[in-house]
Amino acid sequence: MRIKIARYVSEASTVKKNIEYDVDLEDATLLELLNEIKTKQDPTLSYSSGCRSSICGSCSMRVNGREVLACAYKVKDGDFVEPMKNSAVIRDLVVDMDRAYEFNAKAKAWQSSIAKTMSLSQESMKINELQSDCILCGSCYSVCPVYAVNEEFLGPFALTRIWRYVSDKREEEPKEKIDTIQTNGVWDCTLCNECTLVCPQGISSKADIEKLRMRSVASGYSDPSFATSFGSSFDGSPSF
């Protein structure tokens, strides 16, 4: 089988180029194929991987323009493999995730205080069971179109993490969490649903963001873009 890989090294004089590899493997995951190339053909090929079982979130990349986990994707002849978007490429298929992960801290994605009670019903637990399955692979971050216009957008995984804590019965100050996500947060999402389509864990950040919007409204917030246009028509200036 023949696949094409986008190669890139950040060091001087090296340009970005696509390289094709012929590999004698059938019914293999993309990660198995990359390992085959690295150990048998080209040890300079760079990518991240870890658990091989879709749980560590290391090997997210794009195939034919779509985000996948290399360990969970059955590779096909003619596939084109590229690094994720919206993060700086360090080398080949490896991107720098530091900036992306910092949005967890910026969004304050944690339980605000230490909870006291251990009693939590099955129903309460089910509320954020799926959201707490997130493996931080960054696929949703890569596919999100909002970063083209707003680099400070807290982004899909950080907002899903906020919903995971806001919806948790052990969270004592959910209002504070809602306050934090009003700027560069829930209202900046276009609800395009791309994040849902690429999530390997079946999480829908779009749906979580919608739930956070409802919580925001319940807390007295409103969509700032809507408020602006509404407000501007009051002072007599034309509204488009």
């Binding site: 040890p43 560590c56 052990r170």
Partner: protein, 539 residues
């Protein structure tokens, strides 16, 4: 810039230590060769043991007895007692910071039975227990503003040995994977939390490719001691083709092990060493072995074992709801580790170790499922608190120049190695010879043969080296450093396995199948002096 406490590794053990050292007021820095949430801890599925008695009658005493029974006489009873007594509080703490444990109908933390346990004792979160614990710990570290530096691979520990005094720690050197530069981080105390060494078995391991024992290798080079290195746990049920783990909870819930004739041949819920050996014996007879969970039903499998179904479909093209799962036992957990005392302290002053890379003598010859997540919470806290206290009274000088220069030279030298022999081939070769000669069943002749091979490969190391000479993000170089670390540990594992002329727990000698308490109810201690390896038994 100097920190009070430097923590190497950002899995569960490292992060629990970081939180506790920070809470003591220490300036903490965590450095990992990956990112925190990518650590091996995320792969733990089964659960974390605590005698809560939420699902069945249980007691701390029963937890202690089960752990000691599985350890086959070489666990430290005081350490086991501390582990088990602290367990309910450890789980309560995880719950209090937001870990999404599965629940019982009466709103308590759900528990299930794992092998070797007399009760349903493992608290779980579907089969994502490790993932949810690790991510919640990471969120907690963010909440506390703990500094975490990513993608830096440990090279060496920095120590100083004043005349007539004990050696003490002063920091560590790392290869910044992104820049390709050697960086030095000074600290008054250092906690090694780098995980185990199961990847010496290469493809015959459930572990992440990162479990290469870097911290253990650096520790013994720096003068610390490693103990019980011959004890490697083989998980009975990994997918046959890919060594992907199928959690013990599948058997805990009632899954059967079957041979090609469709016959059950062992007690599925015996401790892991016994089940792994029973499966291995079937395989030696020419049988294929399968895990059968079909009778548990689709609904149960989807709610309790969602990962297993997904992985079996992906890697074996079978659906466990309708098909048998082909399995084999592979290396899963390394009981051996950096020797620590009852304070998590190593022989080097200010150097602590915790998690799978450490040996707190709680697992002995065979770890119980559900005790490793517990260990990292209980001893992670201890190591974090003690390292912070030590740092507070630290009044010595740190000079890292010599080690920094030496490691810069080392990285440059390694890149000049001649590449006449491919180290990836040797890595795969060692994995096979370890699985066959130093695996589930061992004997003197096979072990000595493997030792000869390891010695030969050690000699050939300068003929290997990375082919990639690039500075930025050179994973070929990183993998060579990891390979060198594993090669160092391989020799130790085999020497210990040869010396232990008996069978005990996970160390099974087919030539000497009896346990011999008169001569070997002791810990194997290894250390290096002037680059020579020494191995002794101590009580």
């Amino acid at each position: 810039m100097r920190s009070d406490v430097l923590i190497i590794g950002a899995g569960g053990a490292g992060l629990v230590a970081a939180i506790n050292a920070h809470t003591q007021g220490a300036k903490v820095k965590v450095i990992t060769k990956e990112y925190p949430t990518r650590s091996q801890t995320c792969m733990a599925q089964g659960g974390i043991n605590a005698a809560l008695g939420n699902a069945s009658q249980d007691s701390v005493q029963a937890h202690i007895e089960n752990t000691l029974m599985s350890a086959r006489g070489i666990a430290n009873e005081d350490a086991v007692r501390l582990l088990c007594e602290s367990a309910p509080e450890a789980v309560e703490w995880l719950d209090s910071i937001g870990v999404c444990f599965s629940r019982t109908k009466d709103a308590k933390i759900a528990q299930r039975t794992l092998g070797g346990a007399s009760a349903a004792r493992a608290c779980y979160a579907q089969d994502y227990t490790g993932l949810k614990i690790l991510h919640t710990l990471y969120d907690r570290c963010n909440a506390l503003g703990i500094e975490m530096l990513n993608e830096r691979c440990l090279v060496n520990l920095v120590t100083k040995k004043p005349q007539k005094e004990d050696a003490y720690i002063g920091g560590a050197t790392f290869l910044n994977i992104r820049s390709g530069e050697v960086e030095t981080y000074e600290a008054s105390s250092v906690i090694v939390a780098t995980g185990g060494y199961s990847r010496i078995y290469d493809k015959h391991s459930t572990n992440s490719t990162s479990s290469t024992g870097d911290g253990l290798a650096a520790a013994i080079r720096a003068g610390a001691r490693l103990s019980d290195m011959e004890f490697v746990q083989f998980h009975p049920t990994a997918l046959k083709g890919s060594s992907i783990l199928i959690s013990e909870s599948a058997r805990g819930a009632g899954g059967y092990l079957l041979n090609s004739k469709g016959e059950r041949f062992t007690n599925e819920l015996a401790p892991r060493d016994e089940v792994a050996r029973a499966i291995d014996m079937e395989i030696q007879k020419g049988e294929n072995v399968f895990l059968d969970i079909r009778h548990l039903g689709e609904e149960f499998i989807n709610s309790e074992l969602p990962q297993e179904r997904k992985l079996a479909k992906l890697y074996e093209n079978i659906d466990p709801v309708y098909d048998l799962i082909p399995i084999k036992p592979v290396a899963h957990y390394t009981m051996g580790g950096i020797e620590v005392d009852e304070d998590s302290s190593t022989k080097i002053k200010g150097l602590y170790a915790v998690g799978e890379c450490a040996n707190h003598r709680v697992h002995g010859a065979n770890r119980l499922g559900g005790n490793s997540l517990l260990e990292l919470v209980v001893f992670g806290r201890q190591a974090g608190v003690n390292a912070a206290k030590y740092a507070k009274i630290f009044d010595k000088t740190i000079d890292t120049d010599e080690q920094t220069q030496s490691d810069k030279n080392l990285v440059e030298e390694v890149k000049k190695f001649t590449n006449q022999i491919d180290f990836y081939e040797k890595r795969a070769f060692i994995g096979n010879i370890f699985y066959n000669n130093a695996g589930i069943s061992r004997n003197d002749r096979d072990l000595k043969e493997a030792l000869c091979q390891i010695h030969q490969i050690q000699k050939e190391l300068p003929l290997m080296g990375p082919k990639d000479k690039t500075k930025a993000y050179n994973t070929n170089l990183v993998e060579f450093i990891e390979f060198s670390n594993m090669l160092e540990l391989c020799e130790i594992v085999i020497v210990c396995a040869i010396n232990r002329s008996e069978s005990r727990g996970a160390h099974y000698r087919s030539d000497i199948p009896e346990q011999n308490d008169v001569d070997y109810k002791a810990h194997t201690i290894t250390y290096k002096e002037a680059n020579l390896l020494y191995a002794d038994f101590v009580e």
